[in-house]
Amino acid sequence: MSGQVTIERLDETRLKVPIGYVQGMAVEGIIYVDSVLQNYLEPDAIKQVANVATLPGITGRSLAMPDVHTGYGFCIGGVAAFDIEQGIISPGGVGYDIN
């Protein structure tokens, strides 16, 4: 984690993971949690949302739903969209329990 950049509360249900939270983020992250569910938010899951934002072709924002927890590479509860021309596909973004 790059020292100074910290997550910010945007509103009652959204946290922002700003660009710079980890090196190389192309877009920001959004985690949908209120102040109660934020208590369950694992630092590793936040880092995973940020890490996904560094992947080639990431579009819009790297997202995590309120049932977020740490997973294999990508957090569980994560949504990430990549450009069809410039982007990637990753098995970790789907997980082991396909469908």
């Binding site: 959204r14 080639p56 509860g77 949504v79 969209a81 990753s90 098995p91």
Partner: protein, 365 residues
Amino acid sequence: MRDLVEVLFKEIPSGVGSKGRLRLSRTDQERLLLRGARWAVEQGYGEPEDLLYIESGGAIEGADPSLISEKAYERGRAQQGTLGSGNHFLEIQYVEEIYDERAAQVFGLFPEQVTLMIHTGSRGFGHQVCTDYLQVMESAVKKYGINLPDKELACAPFNSQEAQDYFAAMKAAANYAWANRQCIMHWCRVAFMKVLGASKTELGMHLIYDVAHNIAKVEQHTVDGKKRRLIVHRKGATRAFSAGHPEIPDRYRDIGQPVLIPGDMGRASYVLIGTEQAMKESFGSTCHGAGRVLSRHQAIKRAKGRAIWREMEDAGILVRSAGRKTLAEEMSEAYKDISSVVDVVERAGISKKVAKLRPLGVVKG
């Protein structure tokens, strides 16, 4: 209720590595991987009408059985039509609360109605596909010089051979999962008919919807005012398209796509609908469940000396489980409160509550 739970437990194989009543030849498996739930209906498991209410009609185009390893075929051979273990379940539930009358009516939901929810996926088959292709991607990362902050993010450029191979294998696994739930749903209907002595028509068990929550799909979304074709990854997230989207069944088109949110076995599950806001900010996606707060190990420690089944029975929920540890791992305390998770996605505007379902009988792996 006890009879129903017993019969479901007996009829639908559950537990780690559980084997089903189907033993599929290689040709059968290949057809299943191409045709998903359509294959199941062709075998007599369910009704053609069911397919209208499954995401992607129960099969995604472009699956390629030639890209599946022998090991995956071996694991998949006897597991079609089985529940598996972990958080997967069969639940007999009832509609405790309706939040959106109009949507509930269109979906055929009403207060105190009994419902059945099936939560399972592609079993060992999909697990093996993921394992196999993580290896392929590790080499691809080197080959294409992709700089990763974490090696678990192994990936390949979408247009590369490696990526296209994974995508076609993942589609096969997705189709395996749709076939699996279709077979299980059919046997559940048969079990209900048997126990209740009712005909198919009397029972009226129609499928409301079947939706994936671990999948990657090519979709069109508007980003910064521009229409873009994207490869959307949802991992523990559910597609939640808003009203009017062409992928929503005709009957629901004016309402929005039904979203099923399986909760933990002691509290509740929800039916939601997708919203315009979800299309704008979350690529038409929402949450998928409660999400763990205790690791499996922590949960087992916390449950030591307790009879979880009895605690549930005292709360009016009958439960049967194949695995000795499953009930400890899966107890409510191991999960966030599903209602607070669903409240957040509703307040954020990315989905809207339609109904809350309470468990009455639970079958666990």
